[in-house]
Subunit: 314 residues, 4 copies
Amino acid sequence: MGLTIGVDIGGTKIAAGVVDEDGAILNTSKVPTPSTPEGVIEAIATAVQDVTKDHPDAEAVGIGAAGYVDDKRATVLFAPNINWRHEALKDKVEQRVGLPVVVENDANAAAWGEYKFGAGAGHDDVVCITLGTGLGGGIIIGGKLHRGRFGVAAEFGHIRVVPDGLLCGCGSQGCWEQYASGSALVRYAQQRAGATPDAAEYLLSLGDGTPEGIQGRHISQAARHEDPVAIDSFRELARWAGAGLADLASLFDPSAFIVGGGVSDEGDLVLEPIRKSFRRWLVGSQWRPHAQVLAAQLGGRAGLVGAADLARQG
Amino acid sequence: MGLTIGVDIGGTKIAAGVVDEDGAILNTSKVPTPSTPEGVIEAIATAVQDVTKDHPDAEAVGIGAAGYVDDKRATVLFAPNINWRHEALKDKVEQRVGLPVVVENDANAAAWGEYKFGAGAGHDDVVCITLGTGLGGGIIIGGKLHRGRFGVAAEFGHIRVVPDGLLCGCGSQGCWEQYASGSALVRYAQQRAGATPDAAEYLLSLGDGTPEGIQGRHISQAARHEDPVAIDSFRELARWAGAGLADLASLFDPSAFIVGGGVSDEGDLVLEPIRKSFRRWLVGSQWRPHAQVLAAQLGGRAGLVGAADLARQG
Amino acid sequence: MGLTIGVDIGGTKIAAGVVDEDGAILNTSKVPTPSTPEGVIEAIATAVQDVTKDHPDAEAVGIGAAGYVDDKRATVLFAPNINWRHEALKDKVEQRVGLPVVVENDANAAAWGEYKFGAGAGHDDVVCITLGTGLGGGIIIGGKLHRGRFGVAAEFGHIRVVPDGLLCGCGSQGCWEQYASGSALVRYAQQRAGATPDAAEYLLSLGDGTPEGIQGRHISQAARHEDPVAIDSFRELARWAGAGLADLASLFDPSAFIVGGGVSDEGDLVLEPIRKSFRRWLVGSQWRPHAQVLAAQLGGRAGLVGAADLARQG
Amino acid sequence: MGLTIGVDIGGTKIAAGVVDEDGAILNTSKVPTPSTPEGVIEAIATAVQDVTKDHPDAEAVGIGAAGYVDDKRATVLFAPNINWRHEALKDKVEQRVGLPVVVENDANAAAWGEYKFGAGAGHDDVVCITLGTGLGGGIIIGGKLHRGRFGVAAEFGHIRVVPDGLLCGCGSQGCWEQYASGSALVRYAQQRAGATPDAAEYLLSLGDGTPEGIQGRHISQAARHEDPVAIDSFRELARWAGAGLADLASLFDPSAFIVGGGVSDEGDLVLEPIRKSFRRWLVGSQWRPHAQVLAAQLGGRAGLVGAADLARQG
């Protein structure tokens, strides 16, 4: 199969694009994400038809969607942001666009994109984590995406790392994404700046002067300027991210981890502390080969490219 | 391939047995575990030759050994009990017995045995945990044993469930096996009996009257007699076991978990609380199919049978 | 000094009452709590003047207020509910009512009330905890209220019992009141009912059928009907309450603890599990006398009575 | 009363000394600590008689002993190192030396010494912690030693800071002294050096080259040479020490904390991170006066001097 179409359903916009066999995006179309389930279907169809005009030979559609996708890759069992409950997304979009459709969890799609066309080159057993608002991820074993028996594997963000810990939007407590994500980073910085404002002088000056006004980009900038609170916040994030990767190594034993998401855009500023924490917590570290911890390469395109490629594979 | 030989290297004895294609053990031979690495090789060879006398047509040997086994299933990188460090076990035993040898982590072998011939019937995606002195396990994905890129996957016992928690023999802290294992169960009972001896009157009467004298079998017997401290100890074990299974469901999404090891011999006395705790902590439980939590069926034979079958597959 | 006036500033109403030397309340006046700092001063003055009409010989006023009160018992440094920041409450009220005024933290006042006229009879070293919306408390050492050097001792609710634990309104994480309070009890029940609705059938039937609709009184009623989720929720509360009391015993070594607040209205339903947990976690329990764990006796009157008595002492 | 005798019973030696009203030690005598309870009594008597020769006018004896001392300051209820169980220490020593004897917990005695003659000058509400092998402490409220109703207050080392945390010699789990003490510091360094030996090159070079060979003095020396593992180990110690002091501030609200014990000999190397962590975790820090965090001044003499002064007070 040659060209396919990838669709990435985000919280604020829906992006579609035609992708070739090498993972290159040939064109794209973006529309705001509608607020109703029906509106989203409609928007997906419109975006797909839009990008297909230039490439009428595109043969299939891959959709990356947040939430639980069933093992047939057809139905969204539950979506956290859109009000989808057992939504037959594959059927509805196929009826609209007249092409075969594959639905995949968005983090799985992004992991697949990185594995095939990004940082995963040369690896067959890869675990990806995405440090964004939350913490998502995907698993590739023996060159295949591991979806689980019911299609809902790799929900990394919700493994419990602190018993009786922070409340999570999922209803549970102590979930990993409460400690290792862009949101967690901001909380670390805000708490520290509130408790010791003197030490956070530069960091506070980047926003509106209050701890609550600190945003992710302020922390990155302050860390590059050696602000102690910003550096300490990244270090705290890295403690939790690296310790979790060590657990995933004990479970999956991949040859490489790929770390993506907005937080990873900072490169070694965040990757190096994560690697250090990973080595610190890796069990049996002197008796086993160590997985590499790599920065993602595709940025925000990973999901669209990955979804398109999964559709290509059918 | 027809008959193969399984070998199970335990802390106190080494067992070998000829196993047929249906997982039936046709004969066995047991010898005490020698204290030197060379002695263990010798004992394996002797036991294999012993069981081969009756079945000269046995075609291969599968060995289950505690520790890290490399991805070629040939070398034991590190064994916790025997002083093996990068021990070329496959080559040495092949030279002695003149048959092809496959080496596997013992918990992986046991998981494979249960999957093929025990509680795993009808499932293709299974995660097994073994609650013995420690906590071991194995992963079957798509009908295949998941060994990891370097051969050291499924080290369940050493994922961190309590930051800054109990010291573990592995050098880390807060490892799952410190909270969910036969050893943990005994600690729970001993601590509780020490703090509130009145409530543990029956339990204490089964041993030498002191908290330190409480053993695993006492706790089981006392629990069947409704002893509150014994029941509370099982409940504590189940809290940690079930919560951990919920994490594994988020990661692997299998169709079934199999719980083995000495603790699971108590059946529903321990399985039911584990199931309850699993449901309590399963993230998104109302939106996803639930994996079954099954009791292992093969008992102590799982490792030997599994190793033999892995040798059959080559 | 004979009669004095106690004032209890609550979130919804302000109560004043004339109290005699035996802690008997002779009359009371209640007004809704105004929303402005000035309004609250006004309302206090009105309520005091109201109750003084019948007892013109009342000689002093004691005010119990939530928040930090300075070591001179004159200024509210910070109040969580009313917008008081360094509010000179003593001076302002004295100007209005023409009587000497003493300001005290409300939990300290309640502790003093229980110590003098309630469950504390016969004890000179008492630690009180109040399990209400949050967790407050007071310390009596050698028959004297321990206020601390700066007046802000006994903030029990905000000691950290879970590192990296639940967020607290105070800005910190893992505070005791997030685990041992009426609010925590409701969270325990809601979480459990959400995860295992079958087991919570009776409990859910008492509210609107949803986990979110469960209220404290439902849990009490359900526990009395042996509802397993309600019982388990009380047990969880008791685990944290008792473990915290064990810590306080290591620190203060009182002869008695008094447990008050709405949760304690359930009596032995909650006190017995707390006592059990206290014994479970008390360090060196076999080598030391055990403090008693007593139920408070004055209910909601403790604060008013205690504040009045503190004013009597000057 | 003028001169009194202080006795400090340590794990390896017993020291006695005559102390004047200004806390000056006029002479001392030291003997190895015998292994039997009777031997210890004998050794105390000998040491007291020895120092009394030069100062026959010494009027009383104060003994500081590890363990629980009853509220009459006469009987050691339980001593962790010496096999004392309900030992009538006061009576036995009085019979031998013919002087009135007061027995006090050794950490209480040291706290009293620092309060009266060391870092506590000018403060009336002081909490002392001693970071040695374990974590001990003492409480001074209103210029008086707070002993508790049964004499066993201020057992700081055994408050629980990590639920389900490290095992403690007391039988409980997660005790503060497992995270904040000289022993904890060594464990931090050994774990880190084992996991990341490259980063600990200098630290490892100070001992025998193995993580197990790292001792406390190596960590101090390495930290002064900017060794990252040593610095990180002190920082970890300080995280736990400072967070615990913040809890003690919420409970006791002293005007000053005094930090003693071998770890505090490093001065600001350890005090500054502790102060930083204290400010980080102090609840309501912007609305309350902050207690000072001071280094102890008397070193190992605090216990002897404090015990002598407590005897002076009768």
